[in-house]
């Protein structure tokens, strides 16, 4: 067993876990943060995307041990005091989600995109989302939501 410490959504946590514990398992089962989802086993669907030290990463393809000492943000840490972040608000405004399962990963990935590229083209948005699979929306309203959030966040 290993003792792992990290900061999750601003709170320091320390848990003793099996070395094989994945970050996503750590979040879901040890911290009960079930907003981070698992949709595949080949690191492709992106339902599990979180931020590790400010960068988006797939929590299903990291050991909790690898995140020792890091700063992790999950979907639960995005809204502040119950108010949706502009990205979350844009997903709602533009119907960028249906079943909601891929949504946390989409939002976390999109936030990382805007950090790199605050004013992306539609093509750049679509390309960035290569690692996030949505089966419901056809992506159109996700792209629209991200563009709207980008505009909001720039102003």
């Amino acid at each position: 067993m290993l003792t792992v410490s990290m900061t999750v959504n601003g709170k320091e946590v320390t848990k003793t876990v099996d070395p094989r514990t994945l970050l996503v398992t750590f979040l879901r089962e040890h911290l009960n943060l079930t907003g981070t989802h698992v949709g595949c086993d080949t690191s492709q669907c992106g339902a599990c995307v979180v931020h590790v030290n400010g960068q988006s990463a797939k929590a299903c393809t990291m050991l909790a041990a690898q995140v020792e000492g890091a700063d992790v943000t999950t979907i639960e840490g995005v809204a502040k005091n119950g108010d949706l972040h502009p990205m979350q608000a844009a997903f709602k405004e533009h119907h960028g989600l249906q079943c909601g399962y891929c949504t946390p990963g989409m939002v976390m990935s999109a936030l990382d995109l805007l950090k790199h590229n605050p004013d992306p083209s539609d093509e750049e948005v679509r390309h960035w989302l290569e690692g996030n699979i949505c089966r419901c929306t056809g992506y159109q309203n996700i792209v629209k939501a991200i563009q709207s959030a980008a505009q909001e966040m720039r102003s």
Partner: protein, 786 residues
């Protein structure tokens, strides 16, 4: 119109929880003392199981129990039923071999459940499963439908691996039409097999309370009541009073979560055996192997035409793959949901269709978004396109020439359906205008100058939603009724709880149903709460599939609201000292005609629960239930036009433009409807260009068993779809609505493939993968050079 009223793009109520990570999907639920199940699955496609040795596994760390089919047999556990009996053309019912949750004698596809291991942790369960020794006496796998009739038998009950040989339509009328034809277009088609891939993998928790001898099942289900019915009446022989099924937030279904599966059955049964909650969540690899797959037809179609292009007759021969076992509704999909749609939007007077349902050593095949209707549209719209090319007619004009005209409704097709309403030409015209059809040749020339091949393709689809009425579907073999329930309960302080048998797994019912109720009852949208997905709370309901939720479930809600208003009218009349006949209800207020006396709905609700001053003979409370059994299907229809550009060097197809014009009847929330259209098109495009389920034809191994090989469409695969609407309201339901959930998936494959075949000037089967397209494009270039 209030901004939350009918017709407004109200933002969704459900979004806040999903956007903040507070959704509650089945795998998010954990029960005190729960143990974890893992299924040992067959590594081979077809074999006799001669022995299972689980001794070592039972002794392994953390293992609570190991169960096999024999354990279930000893407990009298039954077979998972198929809920629709198809009568074949000789008058016999389809062959219905048993489908046990854990195999008893044979494994019949890779992934079949051989044993269930339950342990304190998931890792322990998995590791113990590896310790089970199974002896398989391998048999030749039957993978290819075409040769299945003469292959090894999968089920003793089904000679020739034939489940049914079924037909619909008047064969002699069709033969006569063909004998008079000036021209016959024909085509062989493959409707490729798909794996549904809802993003949330299936999951289940079975829980048993020995104090009350009752079960609670949490399941990723599109229709919890149907699951309860199957669990109780067919598999576990339990009274429904002792089983509660909860389908909480469900992460997409697309049909694949309609069915009762082995795993949830086994978890429920095992919960009592081990005395602890048993949880199972599919890994994606298991979803690929065991979620019911979709489509998988091979078809020969012929269309007879006169010299002017009028359709005279249609002849369709299809083999449909049913997989290794019959999933819950597998038999009706390639029959009653398929052949009945072969008239399309056209006046074809004679149609005959023969369908052979085949068993193979592959995963069960059942309804997947559209279920039969995409297959029918694909057949009709591809052959119409072929005919247009052979006649050298504009494909839009050929369609126009054969459309059912507005004055012909209600229109009886030669394949059983009676279309209540439709208006196809304006839809086509709007689509042509949106895509700027007249200047297509210029765009094609421009592409050619850039060394690319450009094509345009049409799909004038029709679908039948809200399968009904119950008496009719019953006469066709359905084992269930296809009505829906709703309970509308005013609470004392004026809020309304609505209990619906429909189940939302992405469709946004919490929003649209709230809009509907707020409009009907004239109360604030915020005051309405929609409750679904829990047999412990809601009246018996039939769930969500076949684009039925609004047309059937919404109509039930509307009816329940009517009952609430009628009762409210009596209470209001009493309070206003008027006769109920003189009391009008409008915008949330009861008023006495011709006076300024008025009572708000909320006040009436309060009075119903605090009945101090109350009409005689009226019960307290304001809580009404309605069941709605539709008079007919609804018939959404529309035209999609796709424009593609092909790079002949690589075979890559790029979708340059997409126009969808749909007639869904009355629309409650345009934002949600457009979202459904986008998603449907994406799945249709996925089928036509990317997705393909492939089994190795020798071994029966699933080759496309992960996202590494099964090509899931991503954001950069799509253009921006342009969506338009026309409206002809449904004539027989109280809302005038038709349904929109499947239209995109039904329309899209034909539109796209017609565009690709237009560009290539050659027929090609789905998926139009780069290599396939490249080969044809190269041959075409070579030919042009010669």
């Amino acid at each position: 119109m209030p901004d939350t009223g009918i017709g407004a793009s109200v933002k969704r109520k459900e979004d806040y929880r999903f956007l903040t990570g507070k959704g509650h999907y089945t795998d998010d639920i954990n029960k005190a003392g729960q143990v974890y199940a893992c299924f040992l699955r067959s590594p081979v496609a077809h074999a006799k199981v001669t022995s299972i040795n689980a001794e070592e596994a039972r002794k392994a760390d953390g293992v609570v129990a190991v169960f096999t089919g024999q354990d279930m047999a000893d407990d009298g556990v039954g077979s998972l039923p198929c809920g629709w009996v198809v009568t074949d053309r000789h008058g016999d019912p389809h062959k219905a071999p048993p489908h046990y949750p854990l195999v008893r004698d044979k494994v019949r596809y890779v992934g079949d459940q051989v044993a269930m291991v339950i342990a304190e942790s998931l890792s322990q369960a998995r590791e113990a499963a590896d310790m089970i020794e199974v002896d398989y006496e391998e048999l030749d796998p039957v993978i290819d439908m075409k040769s299945a009739e003469n292959a090894e038998l999968i089920h003793e009950e089904a000679p020739g691996n034939l489940c049914f040989d079924w037909e619909l339509g008047d064969k002699s009328a069709v033969d006569e039409a063909f004998s008079k034809a000036d021209r016959v277009a024909q085509l062989d088609l493959v409707n490729n097999r798909l794996i549904p891939n809802a993003m949330e993998p299936r999951a289940a928790i079975g829980e048993y309370d020995s104090g009350t001898d009752s079960y609670t099942v949490y399941s990723t289900s599109q229709n919890p009541h149907l699951l309860r019915l199957i669990l109780c009446a067919f598999v576990l022989n339990l009274p429904e009073t002792k089983v509660r099924v909860v389908a909480p937030d469900v992460g997409g279904g697309f049909g694949s979560k309609i069915f009762a599966y082995a795993e949830e059955t086994a978890c429920t049964w095992a919960a009592r055996k081990v005395g602890r909650p048993v949880k199972w969540t599919a890994e994606r690899a298991e979803s690929f192997l065991t979620d019911a797959h979709g489509r998988d037809h091979i078809t020969h179609v012929e269309l007879a035409l006169d010299a002017g292009g009028k359709f005279l007759g249609l002849k369709v021969d299809t083999k449909a793959n049913l997989g290794a076992y019959l999933s819950s509704f597998s038999t009706c999909v390639p029959t009653y949901l398929y052949a009945t749609l072969l008239a399309g939007q056209y006046t074809t007077p004679a149609i005959h269709c023969n369908v052979k349902g085949m068993f193979t050593n592959t995963a069960p095949v059942d309804a997947y978004r559209g279920a039969g209707r995409p297959e029918a549209t694909y057949v009709v719209e591809r052959i119409v396109e072929v005919a247009a090319r052979e006649l050298d007619m504009d494909p839009a004009e050929l369609r126009r020439k054969n459309f059912i005209q507005p004055d012909q409704f209600p229109y009886q097709t030669p394949v059983a359906l009676n279309y209540d309403t439709g208006d196809y030409e304006p839809t086509l015209d709007k689509a042509l205008q949106m895509i700027d059809y007249t200047s297509f040749s210029q765009r094609r020339a421009e592409s050619e100058r850039n060394g690319k091949l450009r094509g345009i393709g049409f799909s004038a689809y029709i679908e039948a939603c809200g399968l009904a009425p119950s008496a009719v579907v019953g006469s066709l073999g359905a084992g269930v009724g296809l009505w829906e329930s709703a309970q509308v309960r005013f609470n004392a302080t004026g809020t309304v709880s609505v209990f619906t048998g429909s189940h939302s797994h992405g469709q946004g019912h919490e929003t649209t149903f709230s809009q509907l109720v707020a409009d009907k009852l004239g109360i604030p949208y915020e005051n309405v709460e929609i409750v679904h997905g829990d047999t412990g709370q809601i009246p018996m309901g039939m769930g969500t599939y076949g684009s039925r939720s609004l047309a059937v479930g919404g109509s039930a809600i509307s009816k329940a609201c009517d009952k609430v208003i009628e009762k409210g009218r009596k209470i209001a009349a009493h309070l206003m000292e008027a006769s109920p006949e003189d009391v009008e209800f409008k915008d949330g207020h009861f008023t006495v005609s011709g006076t300024d006396k008025s009572k708000a709905m909320a006040e009436i609700a309060f009075t119903a629960y605090v009945p101090h001053n109350y009409p005689e003979g009226v019960e307290p409370g304001l809580d009404e239930t309605a069941f709605y059994d539709p008079l007919n299907f609804t018939y959404p229809a529309g035209v999609h036009i796709a424009e593609v550009e092909i790079d002949p060097d690589t075979g890559m197809t790029e979708i340059k433009d997409w126009v969808a014009v749909d007639d869904f009847g009355r629309i409650l929330n345009p934002m949600i409807v457009e979202g459904q259209v986008h998603g449907g098109i994406a799945q249709g495009v996925g089928q036509a260009l990317y997705e393909n389920c492939v089994y190795d034809s020798d071994s029966g191994q699933l080759i496309t068993g992960s996202y590494m090989d099964y090509c899931m469409p991503r954001a950069d695969n799509f253009p921006t779809f342009r969506v338009g609407m026309t409206t002809s309201e449904c004539t027989h339901n109280p809302l005038g609505v038709k349904g929109c959930g499947e239209a995109g998936a039904i329309a899209a494959p034909a539109a796209l493939m017609n565009a690709i075949t237009d560009a290539l000037d050659q027929e090609i089967d789905m998926p139009a993968s780069p290599e396939k397209v490249w080969r044809i494009a190269q041959a075409k270039i070579k030919q042009a050079a010669e």
